[in-house]
Symmetry: C2
């Protein structure tokens, strides 16, 4: 195992102790790089903790006794002939998805059967997560399969430091683990560690450069291939395929052609040649990520072509090699006129993409942000997710906390993501989905489409950097962990995942410490919502860097992100009756539930309706009083969290405790700034006093 001085995240040595104390048999060919990783993990753990390892050729005929002489057996499901015992239970219920594995415990032996080598790796880490419990009792063979084929992290890392966006765009954890000084790092040991961590939780795809592709980054596709291959070599042993973000204009800017028109044969030939070069260097290359015709990035519109033309151009170049295009649906007019109330940014993705359903090749994945605007603390789910049954569709989340505290605030996003993934796109009414109705997670997994639908999954923007704790705020590691685990199983209970993360990361923690960690993170997303983003209003942040409050900061900008507050009220009328008609992009029942102010959920009220400050919510208080209350209470909870953290000083590593304490102090400061600015803003506009008499400045 590669070792660095960085924090081990959820794989401290102690986490592998229960496995490392056992006699382990690995029966699989170590020519496979992922099997080699499994063997290396077991070797390192048993060496450290006193166990033993036997590596048997998969062709070796092991007797039942030989197998039973081990505490743990890790074996691949044979592709043709079955060895003696382990296969006896194979039956029709064996999953087919890559990465699946089965676990059984009989007598004193726990057996893990990997459907393939990634399955073996994931099965190994399933045992690690189970810890000592993996060696207790008997369990029949149980199969585990990933719900999603695509379990991907995008890195918005720049090779050259961008003059405004820096080394990692929207990165809050130091520099890039991939790049420094304008080139790929010589020492990629952090990448190797990162690959091990991601592989342990089932991530199988990584895009290694920013979707905003600048000059130097565009050449990763050409001059940079040897370095891309070095990075791919470090991810491959963990079952992870490398992807590149590419510029749609690359045929011109890199290739010197006079056009990037997707229907131009020279352009098609150029991409085909580039893709062939890429696969020469990286035989298991995953594919491309593309942000086109969005926020200034080039795209097919320049040639009168549409997004399907653009995506299929790249898809056809990748097709012979098994590669995939991740085409982002984040397309809108970023030079909007704030005076124009008829244009609605929330509508844009649906307006652009829903007419194209069925036009995308089957190796195109449309990558759709979870909400219609941009990774806000609270948005409705994007109606695009419900609108493209004949398109492979991945839902994009943001692990890096651009709008959710920037890893200065402890904000665990598990509940947000779980709520999104479980959202019933069709159902009986606003209070819940129809049993069996398709959810966001169903669409992403591909289980909601026609039977032959290709599967996709979840993509998220990573939150790691070269920070010693990887994520700036050490507790932000929980977001990376939770995303990966939800990508494997979107139906998982996020609270359980949180405790799983706590148990792995703090193996020595006593119950009080675990409870404190749980308490600080548990409700932290809603706490953050409380002190920042009332009732579905977003973008009340400082323009540009997006940290801290600026209620009107985006109100008169070209970005299409307004709340229209005045002395009478606040909110965006997106109804069909009197507004932008955005509600009409949703399927029933949501198109009607959101349309009607009496059925619209409180937490999205101002996203869909412009209402008076005195409007009474379902909760029974006015909009103004809701702001007064939630912002006060949310800020107060940050104080409680900081105090709880102080109380466990000495019970977690000192450097980690200090770092978290410093961040919690900033969170307290910032939360009170949010509290006071929002409360003052509402009072200055509404003139309504806080009924509780608390100070409004």
């Amino acid at each position: 195992m590669t070792r660095t001085d960085a924090h081990p995240m959820w794989l401290p040595d102690e986490a592998l102790r229960p496995l490392g104390e056992r006699r382990v048999l690995v029966a699989a060919g170590i020519d496979d790089p992922v099997v080699a990783t499994v063997v290396a993990e077991v070797r390192a753990a048993t060496a450290r903790w006193g166990g033993a390892v036997t590596v048997a050729s998969p062709d070796a005929s092991l007797t039942g006794d030989e197998v039973r002489g081990h505490d743990v057996v890790l074996a691949l499901v044979p592709s043709s002939t079955a060895p003696d015992e382990p296969t006896r239970a194979l039956a029709d219920d064996v999953p087919t998805a890559s990465g699946s594995f089965g676990v059984l415990r009989e007598g004193a032996t726990t057996t893990v059967l990997g459907l393939d080598s990634p399955g073996l790796l994931y099965g190994l880490h399933h045992l690690v997560r189970a810890g000592a419990a993996a060696a207790e009792g008997d369990t029949p063979l149980t199969w585990y399969a990933p719900t999603n084929d695509v379990r991907m992290l995008d890195h918005w890392d720049n090779v050259d430091v961008h003059p405004v966006m820096g080394q990692v765009e929207r990165g809050y954890a130091g520099g890039s683990i991939f790049y420094a000084d304008g080139r790929v790092r010589e020492d990629l040991s952090r990448v190797a560690s990162y690959g091990r961590l991601l592989g342990s939780v089932g991530i199988n795809a990584v895009a290694i450069n920013n979707v905003n592709v600048h000059r130097t980054e565009a050449r990763l596709l050409t001059d940079g291939l040897p370095d891309v291959a070095r990075i791919a070599d470090l991810f491959r042993p963990h079952g992870i395929r490398v992807h590149l973000s590419v510029s749609f204009a690359a045929p011109m800017t890199v290739g010197g052609l006079p056009t990037s028109d997707p229907l131009d044969p020279d352009v098609q030939a150029w991409w085909a040649a580039r893709v062939a070069d890429v696969y020469d260097a990286v035989p298991d290359f995953g594919g491309f990520v593309v942000k086109a015709d969005s926020e200034g990035q080039p795209g097919p519109f320049a040639y009168g072509r549409d997004h399907a033309d653009g995506a299929n151009l790249l898809a056809r170049a990748l097709k012979p090699f098994g590669g995939t295009v991740f085409w982002r649906a984040f397309v809108y007019d970023h030079k909007q006129d704030w005076r124009d109330r008829s244009t609605d940014r929330a509508r844009a993705a649906h307006d652009h993409f829903s007419p194209l359903d069925g036009r995308f090749d089957d190796n195109v994945v449309l990558q759709v942000k979870y909400g219609p605007t941009d990774f806000q603390t609270r948005e409705p789910v994007s109606p695009v997710i419900a609108a493209m049954p004949r398109t492979r569709l991945a839902v994009e989340l943001q692990v890096t906390q651009e709008y959710t505290g920037q890893q200065k605030h402890a904000v665990w996003l598990g509940p947000q993501w779980s709520e999104i993934l479980r959202f019933p796109l069709s159902g009986d009414g606003p209070d819940g989905g129809r049993p069996g109705g398709r959810t966001v997670a169903d669409v992403a997994a591909g289980t909601a489409g026609p039977p032959d639908a290709r599967r996709a999954g979840l993509v998220a923007v990573s939150n790691v950097g070269d920070d010693a704790f990887w994520t700036g705020h050490p507790l932000a590691q929980a977001n990376l962990y939770t995303f990966a685990r939800l990508a494997w199983d979107p139906s998982a209970d996020p609270q359980t995942l949180l405790d799983e993360w706590i148990g792995l990361t703090f193996p020595d923690a006593d119950p009080v410490v675990r409870e404190t960690l749980h308490r600080v993170l548990d409700d932290s997303w809603r706490t953050y919502e409380d002190y920042t983003a009332p009732l579905g209003v977003g973008f009340m942040v400082r323009p540009g860097h997006h940290y801290g409050p600026d209620v009107d900061g985006y109100e008169y900008t070209p970005w299409g992100t307004y709340h229209f507050a005045d002395r009478d009220g606040i909110g965006v009328d997106r109804t069909r009756a009197t507004g932008t008609g955005f509600t009409g992009q949703f399927p029933a029942p949501w198109r009607d539930a959101y349309e009607d102010v009496t059925t619209c959920p409180d937490e999205l009220l101002l996203f869909f309706h412009h209402v008076p400050w005195s409007h009474v919510l379902h909760s029974g208080v006015s909009v103004a009083q809701h702001v007064y209350d939630t912002h006060w209470e949310g800020a107060a909870r940050t104080v409680e969290n900081a105090a709880a953290w102080d109380a466990i000083a000495g019970q977690v590593p000192a450097d980690l405790h200090a770092r978290v304490a410093e961040r919690l102090a900033e969170q307290v400061r910032s939360a009170h700034e949010w509290r006071d600015q929002l409360r003052t803003y509402v009072f200055r506009h509404s003139g309504i006093p806080d009924a509780t008499g608390r100070t409004v400045y």
Copy 2:
């Protein structure tokens, strides 16, 4: 003369034609570098335009006939023995200020008498400005003396490009003419041209680096001295002394001492040694500019010392060499809490400095911004100017248009500066000063103080860069010209100076073109005020770069720049009765005129008072309607100006016309953005409709 490809500003070859066609006698020793400049100017002009030049030793005994054989005679007033004729009129009314000159015309000869070599240079350019009229009629000997000893331009140029502020802080005209690539330029020909231009309008001091002194810039004082000497060599022939901005922490950061305490003998010795080194390299070095304990710059407060201690430390080091300290009074708390309404940034400079009056050494000049906040479009004059009779005080203006359109908007600041300079600090009432009462200009010139008061003058932040037109917006050259001419004579009529500038810069322009230039600039400051800054409110700009509207942009920041708008009203209560008491810093009658909402001038109403939106101004309209009207009308005038400019296409140089047209188009766009945002903001807050029915978005 050094020639570059840059625009010649107000010294095109044609401007020197009337002089160049004549027979010119220069009777002065060309060992003096400024005299050598005079001779070189005359040589170049006569060579180009067919005249002739004779250079006579000042010791040569010229007969009357010899003198009368020339059309123009340029001579120095002899310091001891007087030659034959030129001195006959010397009498008690000869001024004593360096740079003074006399002009007489008798028969066919125009004679210029320089009191010293700068006087000769200024006299030469007096003839250039007079043009053909200088050779008409007879005029008795008339003396011209600069009102101000200090006529200075500060450059906020960084040697290293600052990551946020760039090469030139608040510069809107490209890079620095002094620095590129992290060092002083090899090719300083633009500096030589600049020196010639400044010398022609009487500027006699330049500070060559930013008052925010960063790491590299701090070493101009040590390692950089050979380069400083190269720059000084280029300014010296134009009568200009070079100054450096220095860091108060330099004894530590550059010198390695453990302290910068002004009372520490080692610190004093360190500065004395540095100053001696500087004068070794630059014998006519002017002195230091210091921003201390301001916006993060180090200062004497760290040692429990005050600004007099700090300034005198440097003054005493400079004293033996005749150097001056320019100590900036721009000191305030830039980490204020917006919740705290009792702290008033406008009070800060007076609170800090007025108790120190009389404590500054006589080679300290306190450099005071014209207003109490920061170079806003409209502020009252700073009460500090009236409060320090025993202190040399220079008034600081801003030629670079940080808050006045950033050289994208045509905003000629002559009327603003003239209004400030003529402002009667004591007088009979708000409508005008007492005849003979001291004005801001009087204080700056030193004529308002005790008879033995040392004189100071005016300082401004320059607006030039390496742009081909020097100033980005070609018409912004008028600001540089006007500042220099007002520094010479603050009582000059700015409209006359504008026409003077037009005549020199556009020598071939017909009356329509001149009238168009005049019209575009004439009222442009008030037009800018109309569409940006109503009734004395400032800082409604985008935080950071300060361009374009953001009404609440600074409202909740630490910068102390608030307007407190709410649904009921707007403005800052700075009265003694109910507000911050800032009005009490003014002498009578202003302390009372500003205190009373009924006597406070409309244009400063919101600077001094928080009033309802419905408050009726002296002008007869409400505050809300005033915003509606002025912003509408101001924006409309920018359209008229752009149209007027279009109409003279082909009548001014094409490149200049195109550049101005491009900027006027941006001004039109931006003015309408200001108009619409401000009108919408007021309507959203006040609920008062625009009585004229014009669209409010």
